[in-house]
């Protein structure tokens, strides 16, 4: 089941073995994931696509150590995280994983800088160093000038970039993004994707969930899910370059409005 070129398991960042997730409610039992086997080597940019309800978010939650599989094994960076304690998993989330959510999930009434600093707080990094790192991360997503704005003073695209900066500030080996462009217009989506591609080229492994095939085309590998199963698993050769796609888009009327607000 493993993707091509992943014969030696030692270099796999993510290994799922027969992972199952069952949601048992009073009325029905939903089998959101059915015995999934999946390996993701370091450095890949994986897009997960599939119909609504096919289990993409469930998969992401398990990959992100936010949820535990009902059965099966999940090994992240050599650690069998499925069996670890809540606190150990919190540390894993902090050290190994950066999250970008569809709804941005920034803390309200908290400045961009403070939001980005947050993962460093839980790492116990002193304030001065935290500031420096967070500023650098915000600069990397070209938001240095909006550092002291709170989320309600930022556009959707800017908020998502803050969220990406927050995910990156700890330099995690794995970035998980569940529909990061779901709330953004095409142009802003490509801007975010360009950023992700750049990060991927610098060595970060990315797993991204999306509904849109244009977005999935920018990934190096596309996994299609249906009814809790991996339906197809293909490599894009070559992947679409988001920067190029961005350049081809018709420019918005207003030159001075590169950041379209979320609609």
């Amino acid at each position: 089941m493993a993707g091509a070129g992943a014969d030696d398991g030692a270099d796999d960042l993510i290994q799922l073995e027969e992972v199952t997730k069952v949601y048992a409610t009073e009325a029905v039992t939903v089998r959101a994931l059915r015995r999934i086997d999946l390996c993701i080597p370091r450095g890949e940019f994986v897009a997960i696509v599939g119909q609504s309800g096919s289990g993409k978010s469930t998969m992401m939650n398990i990959l992100g150590c936010l949820d535990r599989p009902t059965s099966g094994r999940y090994v992240l960076d050599g650690i069998d995280v499925g069996t670890r304690s809540n606190d150990a998993r919190a540390i894993v989330r902090n050290r190994l994983i950066g999250f970008v959510f569809q709804g941005f999930n920034l803390l309200p009434r908290t400045t961009a800088l403070e939001n980005v600093e947050l993962p460093l707080v839980y790492r116990g990094i002193p304030a001065a160093q935290r500031h420096r790192q967070a500023e650098a991360a915000l600069e990397a997503v070209s938001l240095a000038d909006r550092m002291h704005h709170t989320p309600n003073q930022l556009s959707g695209g800017q908020q998502q970039r803050v969220a990406i900066a927050r995910a990156l500030v700890t330099s995690p080996p794995l970035l998980l993004a569940d529909e990061p462009t779901g709330n953004l217009d095409t142009r802003t989506s490509y801007e975010v994707l360009e950023l992700l591609q750049r990060l991927n080229r610098s060595g970060i492994t990315i797993v991204l969930v999306t509904h849109e095939h244009d977005i999935a085309a920018c990934a190096t590998r596309v996994i299609t899910m249906r009814d809790g199963l991996v339906k197809t698993d293909q490599y894009n050769r070559p992947a679409v370059d988001a920067a190029a796609a961005l350049a081809e888009l018709p420019r918005p009327d207003e030159e001075a409005a590169p950041e379209a607000p979320a609609s």
Partner: protein
């Protein structure tokens, strides 16, 4: 340490976001702490005051009053029915080994006149031992002599209040004061003493030799006195002295061991006890008010923290997703609860101190607020924060990250 500071700053920010809610929440703690502080200060005030007043009476003082008995059948006031005499006093001084001094005492209220001033005061007949028994000192002049007592000389010693009202800033020594029909010469002025435990002004009095009093102010049967005051040889011998007085007086008054005595004996310790009892009751009452409002305050803190946890479930989810462990979340909400209740405690402390300042001025009591009480007040409010913040904080820490993130 630094992370705690950061947590406090975070907590303050969360609290300041809803000032009104926070202030209503901590009202209970505020009242509780204010009450505790006031109770403690009142306690020290009362103790200081009672202690001061009791010792102003003189050391190891014992009072003996005559008492109307059923046997004697007297219906008049205790003063008239008295069968206490100077001779009784002399006998006590001689026979009771645990008694150092005995002073006879009689008094009446009178209008006295000096020049164009007049003043209503207590006029008292005593002997020279009175000064020592009641621990009076002279600010001007000297006591009368034994000869004065025998000759019933018309000399008086003034309390400072009387001096002031009759002579203003002058000391009055050598001047004459008309009491009843006779002019009395002022020979001394007493040093100021202030209030007694009975609330009387101990400086509002005129003293003269017992004989002069009996013959010129309030004629009574020879040797009769209204009261005897005795001082025990030591604090520890007061009880023994009381026993000796009882025995000697029964003998002298021919009262059998089973009969009701025609006198009453009271000691300082009894005054102190009865006064302290009243204030202890008051204090217990206030303390329970404090305890109840601290409890109510604690429940308020718990309630508001539960609301806060629910409101911020999503925030908790985000923090968890980003790497906050259970302990991090727990600390965050505990610190918030403690900050909230300590804020209440500190404001309560300020209120308490203000109340104490007003009270001590109004009552003219010297009250103290011991440092331990301040520390205890703030400490208690912190402890309340921990105790009542624990449950909400644990609830927050045990949230499932996924559920928390999905929370609307």
């Amino acid at each position: 340490m630094r992370s705690i500071l950061a947590a406090v700053r975070l907590a303050l920010r969360a609290i300041l976001r809803s000032k009104l809610r926070a202030s209503l929440t901590v009202l209970g703690i505020l009242i509780g702490v204010a009450a505790v502080v006031v109770v403690v200060a009142l306690g020290t005030g009362v103790r200081n005051r009672i202690g001061g007043e009791i010792s102003s009476l003189g050391a190891n003082l014992i009072y003996i009053w005559p008492q109307a008995t059923q046997v004697s059948g007297a219906k008049g006031s205790a003063k008239d029915s008295g069968r206490l005499t100077e001779a009784d006093g002399m006998a006590l001084g001689k026979e009771a080994t645990s008694i150092a001094l005995v002073a006879p005492f009689s008094s009446t209220s009178m209008q006295v006149v000096a020049g164009d001033k007049n003043w209503a005061t207590s006029v008292m007949g005593v002997t020279r031992s009175y000064w020592e028994v009641r621990a009076f000192e002279f600010s001007k002049g000297q006591s009368w002599t034994e000869a004065d007592e025998q000759l019933k000389t018309k000399v008086i010693v003034l309390g400072d209040t009387v001096r002031e009202n009759l002579f203003g800033s002058g000391d009055g020594i050598g001047e004459y004061v008309r009491i009843g029909k006779y002019p009395f010469r002022v020979i001394a002025v007493l040093a100021k003493k202030g209030q007694s435990p009975f609330g009387e002004d101990q400086d509002d009095r005129i003293l003269m030799p017992m004989g002069s009093f009996r013959s010129r102010i309030l004629p009574t049967a020879p040797g009769r006195v209204q009261q005897l005051m005795a001082s025990a040889t030591d604090t520890l011998t007061v009880d023994r002295a009381v026993g000796q007085i009882e025995q000697i007086l029964r003998q002298r008054h021919h009262i059998g061991p089973d009969e009701e005595p025609d006198f009453v004996i009271r000691t300082q310790a009894e005054f102190r006890k009865s006064q302290e009892q009243i204030f202890d009751t008051l204090q217990a009452l206030l303390a329970s008010v404090a305890a109840v409002s601290l409890l109510v305050g604690g429940i308020g803190v718990m309630n508001i923290m539960l609301v806060s946890v629910t409101e911020r479930t999503r925030e908790i989810g985000i923090r968890m997703a980003i790497g906050a462990g259970e302990a991090d979340i727990m600390v965050q909400f505990l610190v918030e609860a403690v900050t909230l209740s300590v804020l209440g405690g500190v404001v309560g402390l300020a209120f308490g101190v203000a109340i104490i300042a007003v009270l001590s001025r109004a009552l003219e009591w010297s009250m103290e607020l011991p440092l331990q009480a301040v520390v205890a007040a703030v400490g208690t409010s912190g402890a309340i924060g921990i105790v009542f913040g624990f449950f909400p904080a644990r609830r927050a820490a045990r949230l499932d990250p996924i559920d928390a993130l999905r929370h609307e």
